[in-house]
Amino acid sequence: MNVLEVKDLTVQYLTSRGRVHAVERISWELRQAEALGIVGESGCGKTTVAMAIMGLLPSNAEVVEGKILLEGRDLLLLDPEEMRTIRWKKIAMVFQAAMNALNPVHRVGDQILEAMIAHDGELSEKEVQRRLEELCAMVGLDPRRMKDYPHQFSGGMRQRAVIAMALACRPTMLIADEPTTALDVMVADQILGQLRRLQVEMGLAILYISHDISVIARSCDRMGVMYAGQLVELGETDDILDHPLHPYTRGLMKSYPKLRGPKTKLEPIPGEPPNLMDPPPGCRFCPRCPDKGASCPTERPPWIQAMEGHWVLCHKGEV
């Protein structure tokens, strides 16, 4: 059963200098109690997708095409009022560097309560307190610290508080945008572990967004790779990491120095991502691709299921 389905989503930004083709024909689904990771470098459009799902796109963004189905309802067709009822109660989000967005003049506990009350105002005083304690247990915070201010919390604790805020209304699905970027290695590890526990024990579906493949590798059952606004590969995490099909994915994997195993020379992908105001007509990765074919520069590559459950956007996708 799919919690969320994105179909052919295409988003463009209108700027004074032209149209930015930020996201082009993205399709994927997030199943119940599953962790799906979208990995891509800056500018690939992954945050735009998250914003589109949450209905938080800026005013100069235009959804040119596509559907976002949450339990069958198309979110893009909802008006702002309806979207507000969905937001936070069905889908919640932990934004990038959210731990820095905690209001420094309010106590942490109050901020979590606010998230609860703002979206679900009909809880009694007692219920609210009980829920707060529950949330603390879920994210690994000491309920006695709820009276503290954000600056008294460490980075990891603040991130947990933000996650608690996101879970306040028992959403079906959580979007975690770069959940560990500003954190130390060991703390990040704990946070990812905590999120995994939430997913497994509470059946929470989580969409991870990260530029770091290793975070996705560690936390996600399935993953998608985005490049220049397009989804270039989608499938089971282990499958993709062991058998990357798209040249970009392969290139990306070769860009990470390994901690174990033989020390091979890193082979980074030469060049830079394309300007999305004027993307290449055919395959957007073609200019940097070591494996160019004849039709690559001019024809949009097909979205093929190359192996069971493993999709790739490539002219040479047939394995």
Binding site: Y13, S16, R17, V20, S42, G43, M277
Partner: protein, 311 residues
């Protein structure tokens, strides 16, 4: 490609020289800012008025703002063919007074503001950059100056020294107003001091002077400019208030003076053609400098420019 040959020797000059060199580019950016163009337009208007102020007395001595005597009129009259804005209580032409007032306002405003900001910027940068005892001493001095009740000081000085000339006024305004600017510039300098690019300059071995003029000053100038625009308006207003209260320089005609005359001669509600023009001019010139300040911020701060879309 334009050769850097013609850029001449690199000297540790700050934003000033840099700004001049790129005047062409900067103008193109400024042009696109509507607020800035509006402000500039107003300023040009006042500039023209100031220039035009020399004309009326040449046409006919009776148009002299201070001494003009119209043989036929010796009271305040409304607009007419002879006197486009009417006359004041002595029969002098209001329009030529207005034009002269523009000249005076620009002179006083710009000079006083420029001096105040120049002093304040230097003091603030030195205090912020060197810290320690230098900082403490300079800031205590600034505190004392800030706390002085400006208008009162000027009033006392003028009653002690007799009538103050315009240039005395300019100097006094500058000496009173630099302190506020210095505090702001100091905190900006403090935050700049720890920016990695300043540290990179230290690591390369740059001297204190070089760092201050090359790295800090250009990043501090936008703030200085902004405060200069506030300074201009504030200087004009101070002068207007003083003149209005009767402490100005009686030998010059300023908008404030005009307002004083309207009031003192009891024409405030009787002669709108005399009351309104100087009042409106004061407001508009204030607005002009504010708008220019906002636009200058965009020119001086490359990041504010709406250029490349960062993905």
């Amino acid at each position: 490609m334009a050769s850097s040959r013609d850029r001449g020797k690199e000297k540790p000059l700050g934003g000033g020289a840099h700004f001049l060199r790129h005047l062409g580019e900067n103008w193109a950016i400024y042009r696109k800012n509507r607020m800035g163009m509006g402000g500039l337009g107003l300023l040009v208007l006042f500039g023209l008025m100031a220039l035009a102020s020399f004309v009326p007395p040449l046409l006919d001595p009776m148009y002299h703002p201070m001494n003009g005597m119209d043989p036929e009129i010796d009271t305040s009259t409304g607009p007419s063919a002879r006197h486009l804005l009417g006359t004041d209580f002595m029969g002098r032409d209001i329009l030529s007074q207005l034009l002269t007032g523009a000249r005076v306002a620009l002179l006083i405003g710009v000079s006083a503001a420029f001096m105040a900001v120049a002093i304040g910027t230097m003091v603030g940068m030195v205090a912020g950059y060197f810290g320690g005892i230098v900082d403490t001493l300079l800031m205590r001095l600034a505190d004392i100056v800030m706390v002085l009740p400006g208008l009162l000081v000027i009033l006392i000085l003028s009653s002690v020294a007799g009538q103050l000339s315009i240039w005395n006024l300019v100097l006094i305004i500058a000496l009173l107003k630099w302190a506020g600017v210095s505090r702001i510039i100091r905190s900006q300098t403090l935050s700049l001091k720890v920016r990695p690019y300043v540290e990179a300059a230290r690591v390369a071995g740059a001297s204190h002077t070089r760092i201050m003029f090359r790295h800090m000053l250009p990043n501090v100038l936008p703030l200085s400019f902004l405060y200069m625009t506030f300074g201009v308006t504030s200087a004009i207003l101070i002068e207007a208030s003083l003149s209005f209260l009767g402490f100005g320089d009686p030998s010059t005609v300023s908008w404030g003076m005009m307002l004083q005359w309207v009031w003192k001669t009891g024409h405030m509600f009787k002669a709108p053609y005399w009351l309104l023009p100087p009042g409106i001019c004061i407001s508009l010139i204030t607005l002009a400098f504010y708008l220019i300040g906002r636009a200058m911020d965009e020119v001086l701060n490359p990041r504010l420019r709406k250029e490349v879309l960062e993905q």
